[in-house]
């Protein structure tokens, strides 16, 4: 029978330990894992990018309930372990007792809260977990929000930069004379301070907090010297303490942390401990690299191997974009120590090496940190540097002042120098991944995990990949449309036209695709290019479309679909509404939502019900709204001249005409329109791909707006006098975009590439060209303006909606 392993803590160390353990053997233990936070393990290091809005929580999850379930681990998120009974070998939580044969403690650390009056007020928080980040984000939404961050160390500054990026007015209160005094010397601390001040963050060094002010809620911070700083919230980031109260109460030996030996065992032979909660050979830890090593060692020992943990020298970086700093080792001044310093004031570069007995023992760098790993390696190796001392500070690349090749620095690194600190990946590891077949940055990342944790080594990893692959390397952005080809989107489009390539296999054959059948990135793009280039001739390849466009509905998180019938120009009728209501009843639609596109969304439809539901909607005269399409979406309108006292033209009527003309068209990305009856702009035409504002004298045509991930205001394409002109110009613009833009680029991206002037020239200044574009558009519409729902309601693509066989009767034997 399997032994029982209980794990306390769902953090970075335990997650890594579980990976090592389960990869090696998932049968030896029945595992139960407790985590105090109401969620699975996530990459805690990346909380700062989540705070600043550069990443979402979903992107930093490492092990969620699904992962544990698929590995047979019973995970108890949100359940705090309150006691360990070592005699009966059980752990105690609110839901009862859980027995163990082996126990792994990975409870991390707790933020230290300075004991000043007011520390319990609402709005005082630490910076440790996602709950803290969410609380901070909530405060940042207030009008004119202000924050005080107490502590100018690594965490405090990341919090300050994140809050400032969220629009808060931030003041950092730091007790010591300069920032990050544990990692930086005075000069580097000063450079960092000026950079942060340039971004509008106030920094008060040598400032001691006396009191946090406020009634129930924080209103400000009072300093010893009498200064008062108003604040809506206060973040305490003054340090962490190993969190081992639980272990302590059960009688395990401790000092500053829970004591472990080289095998990561506590003084109870059945109990292991790893992470920030432990003390090993007199040291405690606050960075992940050594914790990952501990995790591996503990996993091995739990499997019966004998492996020992050996702490290695680690370096620190600050994850604030634009503040490049690097620090490692001991850089305090002391007798017998010498230093080498390099400064470039204009560029804000500062480098300092601390030398003892001809060996580097400390490195501090600011502004240019490329050589950091090279110095760190010399420090780790305790290499005698007396021979190269004169040029040492210029790094591996020193060539008598000649211009530096950025790749030369990476080239000069020895193979064992560490590139990715978080994951312990050396230059040699990356080179061997490439020798084992990794042919791109993405593949190097997949094979080694380099630059996938905190991301600060992405530049180095990229350079090293470029260097090792040599000519075989293409930077992801500029180059090939995907890993199957080095040709860019534009190249491929050109070849499709020039060589008259009319099917996906033809393109792949002719352009020497590197994979047998393409990939999920290139196939949808190729399919679109062919649809756009050869209307009427090309046979659409459904299997190369994303599921939404394949089944003409939006897939939902639970695998059901949503259905949005078209309502031309946002107009509907009682009959249409009745038909929608009937369909909602008949197919048990759980939610009906009025969309932001002036129509109605039926959410949560079972896939197999789609064709029948569409038949019903068709019968009431409705067609697909293409709410899922890289194609024409909605035309929003306002009520216009018919009803509104300010309306200048029939905006609703024009909207309906436009939508009737354009629906069914496919494009590189979605295409949204709106028509407003006057400059009050109630239909929000100024943030659409194509917007029209009616004025007394005619119609202002606006292009290149968006209100999604980027917020873009439209720019004026031109003004026309009649509805017919507006329609022709719109069709011509849509066609120009369809023919030229790269797949998945909205019009604003494409206009930024080709220039608005060029677009104006093509559409406004050249009537012949405009007419030709509009003709090509309507020619294409003669094939594509068909209702995909009707085709499927009549039995088309039935394989999508019906199972191929029913084996529910095959019973368990």
């Amino acid at each position: 029978m399997a032994m029982k392993l209980v794990v306390i803590g769902a953090g970075m160390a335990s997650g890594r330990a579980m990976e090592h353990l389960l990869a090696a053997n998932d049968e030896i233990y029945d595992i139960t894992l407790f985590g105090a936070e109401p969620r699975g393990n996530y990459n805690r290091i990346m909380l700062s990018p989540v705070l600043s809005g550069q990443k979402s929580y979903e992107e930093i999850v490492t092990h969620d309930a699904e992962w544990y379930r698929s590995h047979g681990v019973d995970c108890r998120f949100g359940e705090i372990v309150t006691g360990i009974d070592r005699i009966r070998k059980v752990v105690i939580s609110a839901k009862g007792e859980t027995p163990y044969d082996k126990l792994l403690i990975a409870t991390g650390s707790s933020p230290f809260i300075i004991p000043v009056p007011g520390r319990d007020l609402k709005g005082v928080m630490a910076y440790r977990d996602l709950g803290d980040v969410n609380a901070m984000l909530e405060y940042s939404q207030r009008p004119d929000p202000r924050a005080v961050v107490i502590g100018g160390g690594l965490l405090g500054l990341e919090a300050a930069a994140g809050l400032s990026a969220q629009g808060m007015k931030v003041t950092v209160v730091h007790l010591m004379p300069h920032l990050m005094e544990r990692q930086l010397d005075q000069s580097a601390g000063f450079l960092l301070q000026s950079e942060l001040e340039k971004r509008g963050i106030d920094i008060l060094c040598g400032a001691n907090t006396k009191e946090i002010q406020g009634e129930a809620q924080v209103s400000g911070v009072l300093l010893e010297d009498g200064r008062e700083i108003p604040a809506d919230m206060v973040v305490m980031a003054v340090g962490i303490r190993p969190n081992f109260g639980l272990a302590q109460a059960s009688g395990l030996r401790y000092n500053r942390g829970l004591l472990v030996n080289d095998q990561m065992k506590t003084d109870d032979p059945e109990i292991f401990a790893i992470g920030e909660c432990v003390e090993h050979r007199g040291g405690t830890y606050g960075l992940v690299a050594p914790l990952y090593d501990m995790a591996k060692v503990a996993a091995k020992n739990l499997l019966g191997f004998h492996e020992t943990f050996e702490p290695v020298e680690i370096s620190t970086k600050l994850k604030v974009t634009g503040c490049d700093l690097f620090s490692a080792g001991d850089f305090a001044e002391a007798k017998g120590r010498e230093e080498i310093v390099y400064r470039d004031a204009t560029q804000g570069i500062y480098k300092r090496l601390v030398i003892e007995d001809n060996r580097i023992i400390g490195v501090v760098m600011y502004g240019d940190t490329v050589d950091g790993p090279w110095f760190l390696q010399k420090l780790k190796d305790a290499e005698d540097i007396s021979e190269i001392r004169d040029t040492l500070i210029f790094g591996p690349n020193f060539a008598g002042g000649a211009a530096l090749d950025p790749l030369a620095a990476v080239a000069a690194l020895p193979d064992d120098s560490e590139i990715c600190g978080c994951n312990g990946i050396s230059k040699g590891d990356i080179i061997s991944a490439i020798n084992n077949g990794a042919g791109s940055l993405a593949e190097v990342q997949a094979l080694t995990k380099a630059s996938t944790s905190c991301g600060t080594c992405l530049g180095l990893t990229t350079q090293l990949t470029a260097l090792t692959l040599g000519d075989g390397f293409k930077l992801p952005e500029a180059a090939g449309m995907c890993k199957c080809t080095d040709l860019s989107h534009q190249d491929v489009r050109k070849f499709i036209r020039l060589k008259a390539l009319k099917s996906i296999p033809a393109i792949m054959q002719d352009l020497e695709w590197g994979s047998s059948g393409g990939c999920a990135a290139c196939r949808p793009a190729l399919n679109y290019y062919l649809v756009a280039e050869w209307p009427g001739e090309y046979v659409d390849d459904g299997q190369s479309r994303f599921i939404n466009e394949r089944v003409h509905a939006n897939i939902q998180k639970d695998g059901t679909y949503s259905v949005v019938p078209r309502m031309f120009g946002g107009m509907t009728t009682p009959d249409e509404l009745r038909a929608i209501a009937d369909a909602a009843d008949k197919y048990n639609v759980p939610s009906v939502h009025v969309t932001g596109g002036q129509r109605i969304d039926l959410l949560g439809v079972q896939k197999e019900d789609l064709p029948a539901m569409w038949a019903d909607l068709n019968a009431a005269g409705m067609v697909s709204g293409h709410a899922y399409a890289k194609g024409l979406r909605t035309v929003k309108t306002c009520v216009g001249k018919d009803h509104c006292r300010f309306g200048t033209q029939d905006s609703t009527g024009l909207g309906i005409k436009l939508e009737k003309a354009l629906w069914g068209a496919w494009s590189p990305h979605k295409f949204k329109l709106a028509v407003s009856g006057c400059p009050r702009n109630c239909a929000e035409a100024t943030c659409k791909d194509f917007g029209i504002i009616c004025v007394d004298s005619g119609y202002k045509l606006l292009v290149g707006g968006a209100a999604g991930m980027d917020l873009r205001e439209t720019e004026l394409l031109g003004t026309v006098e009649t509805e017919a002109d507006a329609l022709e110009h719109c069709a011509a613009f849509y066609q120009l975009y369809r023919e030229n833009a790269q797949y998945l680029h909205r019009p604003y991206k494409w206009i930024a590439e080709v220039g608005l002037d060029w677009v104006i020239e093509q559409i406004m200044d050249n009537a012949e060209n405009r007419a030709a574009l509009a003709d090509r558009f309507f020619f294409s519409q003669s094939f594509y303006q068909t209702d995909p729902w009707a085709e499927r309601a009549q039995g088309g693509e039935a394989h999508e909606f019906t199972p191929m066989a029913d084996l529910t009767q095959v019973a368990a034997e």
């Binding site: 299997q543 994303f546 394949r550 191929m804 066989a805 529910t808």
Partner: protein
Amino acid sequence: MSNFIDIGALGDIPQQGARLVKTAAGCIAIFRTVEDKVFALDDKCPHKGGPLSNGIQHGEAVTCPLHNWVFDLNTGVAAGVDVGQVQTYPVKVENGRVLIDKNSIATKAAAA
């Protein structure tokens, strides 16, 4: 011992596509590659349950429609840094017919 049963014709499945087989313990997705190889996997992504049959099939892999994890159809193992595995089932094609191992389906039903 395996015990193959007929679930339909190869031609019932589109190339680079998938069809479903219903079982007492959830659906199994039957994939057909561009080279007419056939694979069977649970129609449930280990990440957040995405229906893999609705993904884009390429090479001998499928990309989940919900968050783009990529699974090797041979092993059901997630590619790259994503960690997860989908249950696979023995299938084969004989004389244009697709056959699946009945015992493995019975085992699946029993486990449910």
